[in-house]
Symmetry: C2
Subunit: 123 residues, 2 copies
């Protein structure tokens, strides 16, 4: 910090620039940290309801997120799990994995932006 800079904000506790990101279309958010975590949990557990439970999210809310994702995608991201004579359960497609991967990289770029802004904060 330049010694000549007059501080406007107190330095303690430390200040950071933070934020959130999402994808939207028509002003409606459909993709961000919540949906990504849900996809990951569905992949882990093989079940939308189990995934919802682990996120302390209602099944209804999880189903709405999955439905919004599938609706915005050319091909479904969450599909019924096949195999196993009892059937049941859900899994995610390769395209969902690509989305998760994209999101990780997007978060990294955003984290770099936020770190840079925090470092340059001269208030």
């Amino acid at each position: 910090m330049d010694q000549s800079t007059k501080h406007i904000l107190k330095r303690e506790p430390a200040i950071r620039v933070n934020g959130s990101l999402w994808l939207e279309s028509d002003g409606k958010r459909f993709f961000g940290p919540g949906p990504v975590e849900l996809l990951e949990r569905i992949a882990e557990t093989g079940s939308i309801s189990e995934a919802a439970k682990r996120m302390k999210m209602s099944y209804k809310k999880a189903w709405e997120l999955v439905s919004a994702l599938n609706e915005r995608s050319v091909n479904p991201l969450v599909v019924p799990r096949t195999g196993g004579e009892h059937g049941g359960g859900s899994t995610i497609t390769d395209e969902a994995r690509e989305l998760i991967d994209y999101h990780r990289h997007l978060r990294q770029r955003f984290a770099a932006f936020l770190a840079e802004e925090t470092k340059n904060l001269k208030l």
Copy 2:
């Protein structure tokens, strides 16, 4: 868009990367679009209650935002208006104007980041 790229997400309606930014300390947000607009309205109207009214915000909420801002600042950002024989009213300090100015530039840098991410979206 590269013709060889397989789309995962539907192109219509158009997708954009969007987000929000704020300053926080100790995990608590104290500065972002809401507080900035409040400061601007106080400057315009010379009154916290009038500023709150124009933002359809309760006086209590506005007062809390002002109080959080003043608490995080070396010198107050919102002060009683002086002059005028009836007194009363509030105004913002030069330091508040510097904060508003910083916020405008921060938003511009963030808008550039979001535009770049939206342009590069290959999903």
